[in-house]
């Protein structure tokens, strides 16, 4: 490749990256304005909250329950190998569940369930030109379609995390009792859960709940070209929103470690 070709390639890449970033910021601004103005049909928010919350509750509880079983099992196995003192497992498990695994794994599950759903719905509306029809009627599509989904996901992520943590704790207690004879009285111990943990978990829930619909809505509105395009958009939404969850988890945990849990 010649030097000129290399320069052209780099500038083209940077330009497309900037274009993507600009579109993303524009969508985010429209979305925030829409969420503040709340100009959606009556009952639309309740419908979306039902779709995001109630329809995902079983899925989140089943997956988080299994995760709770696995985590407790592995931890007890390791501790048995080293000290054999299993009395603190429940307390530490509750702590790490509240500030790390509860919000993050719930959000990973919601990224596949809700994120893919938003991208699939919006994407199929884009390819069947329903979004263009909305715009022609003078309705801002982002505000009309995405803002209620955004608000619903923002509200329901925290609630679903509570359910997920409860399921994980319950199944964890069952595993500890079944396989390692730790009585539930000892296992259910919330003395190690501090305000900092609750705050970290809450901030994580809010950030994930905002990021998932934003990213997957962006992927949905960028759909082009028939049923194959819808499939591509959905795939991209799942990957992007899961990745955003992992990166946000890393960033928020890092900040929390240096500010809240210092010492």
């Amino acid at each position: 490749m010649t030097a000129q070709g290399l320069v052209d390639g780099v500038t083209g890449f940077v330009r497309s990256l900037l274009e993507l970033l600009g579109r993303f910021v524009l969508l985010a601004a429209l979305l925030l304005r829409g969420a503040v103005r709340r100009r959606w049909a009556a009952g639309e928010l309740w419908r979306q909250m039902y779709h995001v919350g109630n329809r995902s509750a079983l899925f989140v509880m089943v997956t988080l329950g299994f995760i709770g079983m696995v985590l407790v099992f592995q931890t007890c196995l390791q501790i048995n190998r080293v000290t054999g003192d299993l009395s603190q497992v429940g307390a530490e498990f509750a702590k790490i569940l509240v500030h790390e695994f509860g919000p993050s794994l719930t959000a990973m599950m919601l990224a596949t369930r809700v994120g893919a759903g938003i991208a699939a719905e919006v994407g199929s509306m884009v390819v069947t030109e329903q979004v263009d029809a909305l715009a022609m009627c003078g309705v801002e599509p982002v505000e009309y379609l995405l803002a209620p989904r955004f608000t619903a996901t923002l509200l329901m992520t925290g609630l679903l995390t509570v359910f997920g943590v409860a399921a994980a704790l319950g199944m964890g207690a069952l595993t500890a009792y079944q396989s390692f004879h730790v009585s539930p009285d000892v296992f259910f111990n919330f003395s190690k859960v501090q305000y900092g943990d609750l705050l970290t978990g809450g901030i994580k829930c809010l950030c994930y709940g905002g990021a998932i619909p934003l990213v997957s809505g962006f992927c949905g509105f960028a759909t082009s070209g028939g049923s194959e395009g819808v499939g591509w958009a959905t795939t991209r939404a799942v990957v992007a929103s899961s990745f955003v969850v992992i990166v946000l988890d890393f960033l928020i945990s890092g900040v929390a470690m240096f500010t809240l849990q210092a010492g």
């Binding site: 196995l77 990973m108 369930r113 699939a120 994407g123 199929s124 028939g226 049923s227 992992i246 988890d249």
Partner: protein, 264 residues
């Protein structure tokens, strides 16, 4: 009042019955598909060119996203074990904690979920598009069995690629953990590596890789099943992709639980 309670009970029963029937239908479809795929793989009927194409598309192209996921996974594990490490000032245990958690549980699950989102969803979309544009019926009309030609290479390619990606991802996660442990907690590379190499056994790595094989197989089956049974245009494809990733996440979690009990 009684009739109201009765009708509520009936509708509840009807809903539960419908859900169970739907579950049985999907599970039955996946079991049939599993049988067909295994039969054609055992007989060595698997299109080689399609296999190579899918290995590239699923394995090589997924390397960047898996590498980034693995790096952040290592970082998250270091931060989380760092809380304990600082409390007990047990800096020598960081490599053990991060390595064990990444190899056995967190690595396979997070990379598996990412793989399901990237490759599984893509597979459903591709097969679903073929189904709604009647290309699969076209194959059958040409007397080409879609199982050995389309599905078996995809299943095999997913198992091979997730296995290789897990090896790569584990290495990157440990490397990322080492770098971030030095930057965030000030743990020297040598002490991280020493505690890692001393305490993490080959078996821990093997457990993760065996899990990866099962995860890849279940992702392949669910995504192919939902892709092949798409009905109704672009809307159907989107919904199928959504259902496929949800089903893959569920099977990953359930099989992880079972495998943890079996592989101690």
């Amino acid at each position: 009042m009684i009739s109201f309670v009765g009708s509520l009970f009936l509708s509840l029963l009807r809903g539960a019955g419908g859900a169970v029937m739907e579950l049985c239908r999907q599970l039955g479809g996946m079991t049939m598909l599993c049988g067909y795929v295994l039969a054609s793989l055992v007989r060595g009927r698997c299109d080689r060119r399609e296999l190579l194409r899918n290995l590239y598309k699923m394995g090589v192209v997924s390397v960047p996203i898996v590498a980034m996921t693995a790096f952040f996974t290592g970082g998250i594990m270091v931060i989380q074990s760092g809380i304990f490490v600082r409390r007990f000032s047990a800096y020598g245990l960081l490599g053990w904690g991060a390595g064990f958690a990444v190899f056995r549980e967190v690595g396979p699950i997070l990379i598996g979920l990412m793989f399901s989102g990237r490759v599984g969803a893509n597979n459903t979309a591709e097969l679903g598009t073929m189904a709604v544009t009647e290309q699969i019926d076209g194959l059958r009309a040409l007397a080409i069995d879609p199982i050995p030609f389309l599905i078996a290479p995809r299943v095999l390619a997913m198992v091979i690629s997730l296995f290789c990606l897990l090896v790569l991802g584990d290495a990157i996660a440990i490397g990322g953990g080492m770098i971030l442990g030095k930057l965030l907690l000030g743990v020297e590379y040598s002490s991280f590596f020493a505690s890692f190499a001393e305490n993490v056994k080959l078996w821990d790595l093997m457990v993760g890789l065996i899990k990866g094989i099962f995860f890849a197989f279940s992702i392949a089956l669910t995504s192919s099943h939902y892709g092949l049974s798409v009905r109704g245009g672009a809307v159907g494809v989107g919904r199928a992709v959504n259902d496929a990733v949800v089903a893959a996440a569920l099977t990953i979690m359930i099989s992880d639980n079972l495998l943890t009990l079996v592989l101690r």
